[in-house]
């Protein structure tokens, strides 16, 4: 975790704290008003778990129904394949520009960069994504990608990039500027790229929820629409949306429902895009299904509630995670999507406080998955000859050896008192405290002291009392 370099950015940390506080308060209000929230969460969990158990069947059902409705389904085993398919489709559409709906999946496959490389200009139309794109920045949150920027910073970006030196600083001013900037693109650009919140197997429909209406423009105005979605986005029936569309907006933005809920199914002559494609992205997802403990990660509906609730995320913001998906869900998703060696530290970017699990609308036990992934990291780190020289592993194994024996445990307590001696200082009140520790433990004493070991341990007190009382 590259938290060190970002902890010094106090403006960013202030922005993140403020934004997550606001969203959390909104979420709490609309969750508390639901008498059946826990039952809904359980329904959500069951729908997702059931889907993952039968993922192959539901994806095939989706493909059949989407195709029957006039769409074309493409299967992409990895990010490179997805990029290639999309580039080909964009080229076939005859356009060298695309308008985009906010999509984390296109971030995951780094689509914009690939489009740019072949001379295709991509315009982000979600307000926050537009801010990120114009500011040459990275999203820091699944739902609110520009959450780390405040209004003044956004104004500065718009002034510079839209050439509007006189731009005012109210929310209305900024929204107006974005609207004028985007409206012309909506009307001109003939090809759209979207993500998806849900793919409905039963109907072959695709569902996107959003707040601004810009997504609706992208879905209806272009001649060609390319939707890219992870294979985990499928749900069996239309009716499942009844549960998921209650859980998602309340958890994500603290709204009872999203202002715009769009569902489109294939092609309808004379109305909307006449060429419609869905790119189904695997990119490590199907192999996640094989891991009994970690596969619940795929149940995620990308609400971002875990990010807002996470005390680590709230301190660092999303960029510190160094991955497209940040926060608790990013800490379990990224190491599984990519190779473990690229994401070794992420499973440790958590105090395991459980706030993420508590707010997760589909009850993903994120702390459990983190611990499971930590075990994978340790197994990898301690394998082979290199493992023999791993200092942490050596310390852990020594401690485990001590804990396995009462005699060694007693000896370690005695030894600890002797060994800490040179480090203990009297604090003036007669108490001994340690203010400096070597090596990795120095992280502790950077801002904390450590009380010396007690002169008498509980065990010694207990035994002395037993002798005294003649027990």
């Amino acid at each position: 975790m590259a938290a060190r370099s970002l902890m010094g950015d106090t403006q960013l940390r202030k922005n993140v704290r403020h934004a997550t506080d606001v969203i959390q308060a909104k979420r709490r209000r609309v969750v508390d008003e639901m008498p059946d929230w826990q039952a809904l969460r359980e329904s959500g969990r069951q729908i997702r778990e059931h889907t993952m158990l039968h993922l192959e069947e539901y994806l095939e059902e989706f493909e059949r129904n989407c195709t029957a409705a006039g769409g074309t389904v493409h299967w992409a085993p990895d990010a490179a394949a997805a990029r290639e398919i999309i580039l080909r489709l964009v080229k076939a559409s005859g356009s060298d520009e695309v308008i985009k709906i906010k999509s984390m999946t296109t971030e995951e496959i780094q689509l914009n960069r690939a489009l740019e490389a072949v001379g295709v200009k991509a315009y982000e139309t979600d307000l926050a994504e537009l801010i990120i794109q114009l500011g040459q920045d990275q999203p820091s949150h699944i739902v609110v990608p520009a959450l780390h920027k405040n209004r003044q910073q956004i104004r500065a970006i718009f002034q510079r990039e839209m050439n509007l030196p006189e731009l005012g600083e109210t929310a209305q001013d900024l929204a107006d500027a974005a609207r004028r900037f985007l409206r012309e693109k909506f009307l001109r650009v003939k090809t759209g790229v979207s993500g998806a919140n849900f793919l409905i197997a039963e109907t072959g429909g695709v569902c996107v929820v959003e707040s601004e209406g810009n997504g609706r423009m992208c879905l209806t105005l272009p001649e060609t629409l390319i939707t890219v979605a992870g294979i985990d986005k499928v749900v069996p029936r239309f009716q499942d949306l009844e549960v998921l569309l209650q859980l998602l907006p309340r958890s994500a933005t603290g709204e009872r429902m999203n202002p715009y809920n769009s569902i489109w199914t294939g092609v309808r002559q004379g109305d909307g895009p006449q060429s419609f494609h869905v790119v189904l992205l695997d990119n490590g997802r199907s192999s996640m299904l094989a891991d009994e403990e970690a596969k619940q990660t795929l149940n995620c509906i990308r609400c971002g509630a875990c990010q807002n609730a996470c005390p680590v995320y709230r301190q660092t913001g999303g960029h510190a995670y160094g991955s497209v998906y940040a926060g608790p869900i990013g800490a379990i998703l990224t190491p599984q999507l990519q190779q473990m060696e690229h994401a070794q530290s992420l499973p440790y970017a958590s105090s395991l406080c459980g706030a993420c699990y508590e707010v997760c609308p589909v009850k993903i036990n994120i702390p459990e998955v983190l611990i499971h992934l930590r075990n994978k990291v340790v197994k990898q780190d301690t394998a082979g000859v290199a493992g023999l020289f791993n200092a942490e592993a050596a310390a852990m194994k020594t401690m485990a050896m001590i804990f396995r024996s009462e005699r060694r445990f007693r000896a370690a307590q005695r030894l600890g008192r002797v060994a800490e001696g040179p480090l203990v200082r009297n604090d003036g009140s007669g108490e001994g405290w340690i203010g400096w520790l070597p090596g990795l433990l120095g992280g502790w004493t950077a801002v904390r002291d450590l009380r010396e070991m007690p002169k008498q341990t509980f065990r010694e007190w207990w035994e002395e009392r037993g002798t005294r009382d003649g027990q």
């Binding site: 975790m1 938290a3 060190r4 902890m7 940390r13 005390p311 680590v312 301190q315 660092t316 499973p347 440790y348 970017a349 958590s350 105090s351 395991l352 406080c353 459980g354 706030a355 699990y357 508590e358 459990e368 611990i371 930590r374 075990n375 994978k376 990291v377 340790v378 197994k379 592993a393 852990m396 194994k397 401690m399 485990a400 001590i402 804990f403 396995r404 024996s405 009462e406 445990f409 307590q413 604090d427 108490e431 405290w433 203010g435 990795l440 992280g443 502790w444 950077a446 801002v447 904390r448 002291d449 450590l450 009380r451 070991m453 007690p454 341990t457 509980f458 065990r459 007190w461 207990w462």
Partner: protein, 234 residues
Amino acid sequence: MVEVLERLGHTVDFPAGQTCCGQMHYNTGYQAEAMPLLERFVAQFKGSEAVVVPSSSCVAMMRDHYPKMAAELAEPGLKRDVAELLPRVYEFSEFLTKRLGLTDVGAYYPHRVTYHASCHGLRNLGLGDGPQQLLKAVRGIDLVEIQGLEQCCGFGGTFAVKNAEVSSAMLAEKTNAILNTRAEACTACDNSCLMHIEGALHRQRTGVRTVHLAEILASTEGGARVAAPVKVGL
């Protein structure tokens, strides 16, 4: 804890062979090292009527992970023993409020105190306001609620050294909240959080102490001791 339980008329035993529940190893990814500690715990406590633990995170470790660990070890006897023993394992405040149905244990503690709800107690064990009920019944106490009760103090075991800077920032929020209550002492059901919090309170020379819930409940008229050192280790 011993004093409180004995005052309430219970017989306390301390199996001398007990060491560690294995939480640190398990949570850091050293599951294999935690396995023998599970077996050790079961062997030490199998015959007890009730096992009372003054640490919410240790109890959470046992409840959340022991059954799965026992299943992995594939020893039918152990699996049965764990299933049979776990319902008799209680966190200290939980033992008083849920098993014994008590809130007033006859304590006297004339100090201004704030309560820190440790994450494992709050979320994994679902202690709710049990500890606060116990504190409210203490005579002489001036109990003040902390802002952000459900916020983690940033300890997280090895997280505190592996991600020391983030942990420190979380801790700073917690100690600020404690100082804002103007309490003389901060209490909790978990010594690991208290060790973390007291480390910063002492470094900043705040004069605010940490004290385990058991120490408050053990104090009686004439024997109050806000400055009593926290006993760590077994």
